[in-house]
């Protein structure tokens, strides 16, 4: 029986080829977080004035790294919707693979795309002097991986219900922005009004950013993590497993495939 390692690598390889070919996508992956950090960070920092202002910019470092992973992971996972419209999904569904492997491979591909973009941003932040010298590399790696994987899983979950690219834009506004704003990226969770604090605590993305805060990636003393490392990991893993489980069920249902096949046939006879 056909193995799953080479097919998974094929999906990862394609993700990287596409990412490197799309200069605009890479550029916006860098510009978006830098706008938050350098413009909004400076603006809100000025409200606080002096040292506190600089501290606010440093506070944003884990948040903007998370933002890059969030956009990178969700957009790459949502490309599954586009794959369905193009020929790639036909190649995948006719391959001797279980449907859940296709979902897992696509999720890993999206995770990889998110990590590549975040690492690029990391290099830029390093060059601009925004990184702390006392970062815990294992915690940082865990935080980045956990954030990227959870965002990719969320993207797959959304992709499983998206029929076409029209509601893809809607998904950006209904998913990406709420997830970003309802997290500890821009402000400490503990200081939020209670209802927002509850929602934010339930948001898995909060815990990815929180892990990055734990790693001490921003300049020293600027960031206080909101939750324990164990709780962060549990939330990230729990959410990813749940999201992927549901996405796999959805993609494995024969009729999901069938409607794809049906549409392809109908498109032609129209």
């Amino acid at each position: 029986m056909t193995g799953v390692v080479r097919p998974t690598l094929a999906v990862l390889e394609r993700e990287v080829i596409k990412l490197l070919a799309q200069r605009g996508r890479l550029l916006s992956a860098l510009v978006r977080p830098l706008l938050w950090l350098l413009v909004i960070g400076a603006g809100f920092g000025a409200l606080q004035g002096g040292d506190a202002g600089n501290r606010y910019q440093s506070f944003l470092v884990p948040g903007v790294l998370g933002l890059t992973a969030l956009f990178g992971g969700i957009l790459a996972a949502l490309s599954t919707v586009y794959d369905r419209e193009s020929g790639v999904m036909r190649m995948l569904v006719i391959a001797p693979l279980q449907p859940h492997w296709i979902v897992l491979a696509k999720t890993l591909g999206a995770t990889l795309a998110a990590i590549v973009q975040s690492v690029l941003l990391l290099l830029v932040l390093g060059a601009l002097g925004y990184l702390s010298g006392r970062v815990s590399i294992p915690l940082f790696a865990l935080g980045l991986l956990g954030t990227a994987f959870a965002c990719a899983s969320l993207g797959m979950l959304v992709a499983a219900w998206s029929r076409n690219l029209d509601n893809y834009a809607t998904m950006m506004n209904l998913v990406i922005f709420p997830v970003f704003f309802l997290s500890g990226s821009l402000y400490p969770v503990q200081q939020l009004p209670q209802i927002l604090e509850v929602v934010t605590t339930l948001n898995p993305y909060t815990h990815g950013v929180d892990l990055l805060k734990h790693s001490g990636i921003g300049a020293a003393g600027s960031q206080q993590a909101d939750f324990s490392i164990g709780f962060n990991i549990a939330m990230l893993l729990g959410f990813s497993a749940l999201a992927l489980g549901v996405a796999c069920l959805r993609f494995s249902r024969a009729d999901a495939n069938e409607s794809l096949v049906h549409r392809l046939a109908r498109k032609h006879t129209d």
């Binding site: 029986m1 056909t2 193995g3 080479r6 097919p7 690598l9 094929a10 390889e13 394609r14 080829i17 596409k18 070919a21 193009s86 020929g87 790639v88 036909r90 190649m91 995948l92 569904v93 006719i94 391959a95 001797p96 693979l97 279980q98 024969a254 495939n257 069938e258 096949v261 049906h262 392809l264 046939a265 498109k267 032609h268 006879t269």
Partner: protein, 312 residues
Amino acid sequence: MTGEDLAIRAERLSKRYGDTRAADAVDLAIPRGQFFGLLGPNGAGKTSLIHMLSTLIRPSAGDAWVAGHSVRREKLAVRASIGVVFQEPALDRALTAAQNLRFAGLLNDLPRAEIKKRSDELLALFGLADHRDRPAGALSGGMRRALDIARGVIHRPQILFLDEPTIGLDVPNRRAIWRHIARLRAEFGITVFLTTHHLEEAENCDEVAFLAAGRIVHGGRPNVLIERFGKYVVEAESDRPKELAERLEARLGEALIEADGVQFRCNHEPADLGALHAELAASARAVRWRRPNLNDVFLWVNRPAQSQRRAA
């Protein structure tokens, strides 16, 4: 013939969508290495049948065995032994020709060195060697179709399904696609299951079956079908085809009435054509006779119910 020698066997294979029967108790027995053509009008159920045989959709009833594996219970084993070329290309337009083949090869778990060897071979075989590093989206329609077929056979499947492989292509490209398929058959002894609208292309098939409303209504070797159909076809162009049909049917043979004329299927040499011309000068614009072909067999099989009743 034993089951072992069959590439594809279907028993009462059926697919329903609500009240529509896309496939209705279809039986098939296609020997290994055969070039099989499934013919039928749009909506006859050809694509549904291909999708069931390639495990993309689940039969509502019945079962089929492809390369000896059940399409219901052994989907992955079936998929590993078949190649499918859909009506629309299964290619990533952003990847190059070589990258597309590599992606397809890896999805089928082939080692990288083997993929390299086979894709070089296939690109050369299909005249794409000079285009290996061009994105699939930048290739011409004919080249893209050729690449799609190469994609479908990179894992050397025993059986290749081709759903309207030449649709949308011009004549030179269609001929090129048929040369590629002939080479694949000669080189790898691959079984080919084809659907097409271009019936002259199906005349090269070892065997054809006509599908109408989900049922196989006719079939056999193309030359035998044509021979049995009749010796000649007489065509008369006229504004009053019905009248002509009634007048001449007894003399010429069974009539098929169309909007702007009538065809007769003759089992004997048509009577003196010159005399016929003279006789019909007032009622027909033109009268011709010719040898029948698969198009005629197809037209007669799919003729409107009214004219079938009349003939009966």
